[in-house]
Symmetry: C2
Subunit: 439 residues, 2 copies
């Protein structure tokens, strides 16, 4: 996004865990801050130095250590690129349990450090479940070896969990043991146009009941987001006639073990939706080919690209109850209008899309330029809205350098006190990624 | 099991989180130890006082706080019995993500505090993934409210994870927010007799590939365990002829969204197994009715009961590579024989069964009576075998009071040092479940 620019002049690229250990020991003794950096694809400035810290790039720690095709357990260095791991396990008919837009450059260590969510969370759960073990270098250089390849281990506190999502503030992840699921044999998808947002909830229930274990994505796109994606070249699956009167859209994906069974379930779902007395959807298009499958996904994934082409985006990645998705987008738009900021030279679009199954809304405000008055209209407004619903101000992007001030909107004083004590226990000199997560 | 007997005379049964808070504050100021107690069904003495601690029973904190049928998210007091929660969500077509033998009396809070595994882990993953939030009373009486109903929240350290599996040594869990999956529409199972243990691994790969997302259990039973269960009245599914020459048995369960699809997949699997040139199985019986489904499961679940009827059992619950399951059982038997302890008046049987998909072997040594010479022959022998394979000395049962001395076999000195620091941070006066997990 170009919103963060580091000021560090030193980048170290260790080749082994032992080298990482020596660097941290050296820095810790001298109270020198260290910023661990993976693929540098984060959205909240978590891997960017705020002062003159040393940047510790994990890019040369990039070997697969082992893979067991029976259990599907992969052990890889932190600097392995997500896509290369996907390619590595593919011949064994396994997939990585996470998938996200930045897969071509993000590192598995960074994924774990930021507890990345992405498109497969609905089906395969979070990294807190699929990461089996970690190797971490602590601030004082000690190596915490919890690189187990066991699915179950109930011997004491599950320390690795603390590093998942700590954004490098408690130690440097140098290797990851992760459970990879068997690859589905077949995937299909359908794009549905809904007359009203009110239909999303009952639709979600119907889809879950009918597709059960083969449901792998249920993505929401509001009309504004849809129009932007179409204007920028996506969305040929639905005709103009199809989308007339649609207030929002839902993309449903299935992934399963036998194509004919999956297609039968999806076709039956579509038929029952369209033939209902009071249909929840106006229309729906089922992908009939791999290229149509891709073009339906491109509509959803194209929203991000369309937003960046349209202007400067303020992106909020929030968890709120599903029933509030539309109201939060509408209220934010009205709030900006009431401040006189909804016009061509300020905010052009307010839109929402996201992962319904995870309760995760991406609220995007697309502006002509980043302006202080827009920022002060949005914050703390958005955070207050989220806090009022006991939501999360950062569902998957993390806190980084950008949202440390906003942490109290999602976490209680007791929680933050304990976090600070843990930070102090693991990193008493405060060298690990200073200025991130905790102020 | 009757191996642990508490010495405490005070049992408190608070009715609210606030009362729990007041009790802990009072005890903390006076340095009085507190043992949180759920259904008291643990196997390692985790909920039993070792001295004169106060027992804090959660049994009166037993209300469901909320359930959202759209998301499947349940919020319940810690003292709710697992079976009653299963019954609560059933009318909404949801199930609990865990299931275990003690479901009729164990508490959800105890399940979380001990990170219970059980029969559904293969399908629904561990509690580190399915628990979304916790309410915990800290040692000093402060209430840590992380009782979120969000699937995704990336704001700071995931503190709740520390309490999952901490066995009440860091605080008292008073409420749990948990994701309940949709109930499968159909379940089937099959019992397979294998000529050789060497066939278990290739069988597991074949079954995973053919059943994919509907595979919900893959349980291993060795011949000794099978014979014991049959002698105690289970196992009518297979005839004497069927089991002749079988070295071990595997129970496969499917759970899916549409009965005809699931049955077709399972029937095709069985046919391909039996018609192979070099069959991996001697024979297999597919359940044809709900009663046959139950009787096949009763064979697996009946092992525990048979063991307790046969004598006094030393139970080891270990994680090791699947390929070592048989060798560890055989080696243990030979080790006991070499010590002159394998006869009617000492060790009668050494047997193994467990969750193949989780790499979790239950190694049982059935003796005529608990004898010191058996115990000293088994420990540290079994722990050393596990450590040599980088396994876990407690896959799901925990550490409790019973295995604190054995923790170093599964955890490094750095890990244990960090655990002690965390313990000290959360509970500086050491009042929380003293003598458990850490020595």
């Amino acid at each position: 996004m170009g919103r963060f620019r580091g000021r560090s002049s030193t980048v170290l690229k260790p080749k082994t865990t032992q080298e990482v250990s020596e660097i941290l020991k050296w820095c810790n003794e001298r109270r020198i801050g260290v910023v661990p950096q993976g693929g540098n694809t984060g959205l909240v400035g978590g891997s960017v130095p705020v002062n003159d810290e040393v940047v510790l790039s994990l890019s040369n720690l990039n070997k697969v250590r082992s893979f067991d095709p029976v259990s599907g357990i992969l052990v890889a260095d932190a600097g392995c690129i997500l896509q290369s791991l996907t390619d590595y396990v593919a011949p064994h008919n396994h997939i990585m349990p996470i998938d996200l837009g930045a897969k071509g450059s993000c590192h598995i260590g960074g994924n774990v450090a930021t507890n990345a969510g992405g498109l497969r969370l609905l089906r395969y759960g979070s990294l807190h479940g699929s990461v089996l073990g970690l190797e971490v270098v602590l601030a004082d250089g000690r190596i915490l070896d919890q690189l187990t390849t066991l699915r179950k281990d109930n011997t004491g506190y599950d320390l690795k969990q603390l590093f998942i999502g700590a954004e490098g503030t408690l130690g440097v992840i140098t290797a990851v043991s992760i459970l990879t699921p068997p690859a589905p044999q077949a995937s299909s998808n359908v794009i549905l146009a809904l007359p009203s947002f009110d239909n999303v909830l009952p639709l979600y229930q119907t889809v879950k009941r009918q597709l059960s274990e083969i449901l792998s994505a249920f993505e929401f796109i509001d009309r504004t987001a849809y129009n932007l994606a179409v204007n920028h070249g996506q969305g040929r699956a639905l005709s103009d006639e199809d989308v007339e009167g649609a207030e929002c859209f839902v993309l449903v994906e299935t992934s399963g073990g036998r194509r004919e069974h999956d297609e039968e379930k999806l076709a039956d779902l579509l038929e029952s939706l369209l033939s209902a007395d009071k249909p929840l959807v106006n229309t729906g298009v089922l992908s009939q080919s791999p290229s149509q499958f891709s073009s339906i996904w491109a509509l959803r994934e194209g929203v991000t690209e369309a937003v960046s082409k349209e202007g400067k985006a303020y992106k909020y990645d929030i968890s709120i109850p599903l029933s509030s998705f539309k109201r939060v987008v509408d209220d934010t738009r009205e709030h900006l209008r009431s401040k006189g900021l909804l016009h061509d030279k300020a905010v052009k679009y307010v839109l929402g899309y996201g992962h319904v199954g995870d309760g995760n809304l991406h609220l995007n405000i697309v502006a002509d330029a980043y302006l202080p008055e827009i920022e002060s209209a949005l914050e703390p407004y958005v955070y207050e809205v989220v806090a009022a619903q006991r939501g999360s101000i950062s569902a998957e992007h993390g806190i980084g350098a950008m949202k440390t001030h906003a942490l109290p909107y999602s976490k209680s004083a007791v929680s933050i006190d304990l976090m600070k004590k843990i930070k102090n226990t693991f990193d008493p000199n405060g060298i690990m990624n200073p200025g991130k997560v905790l102020e």
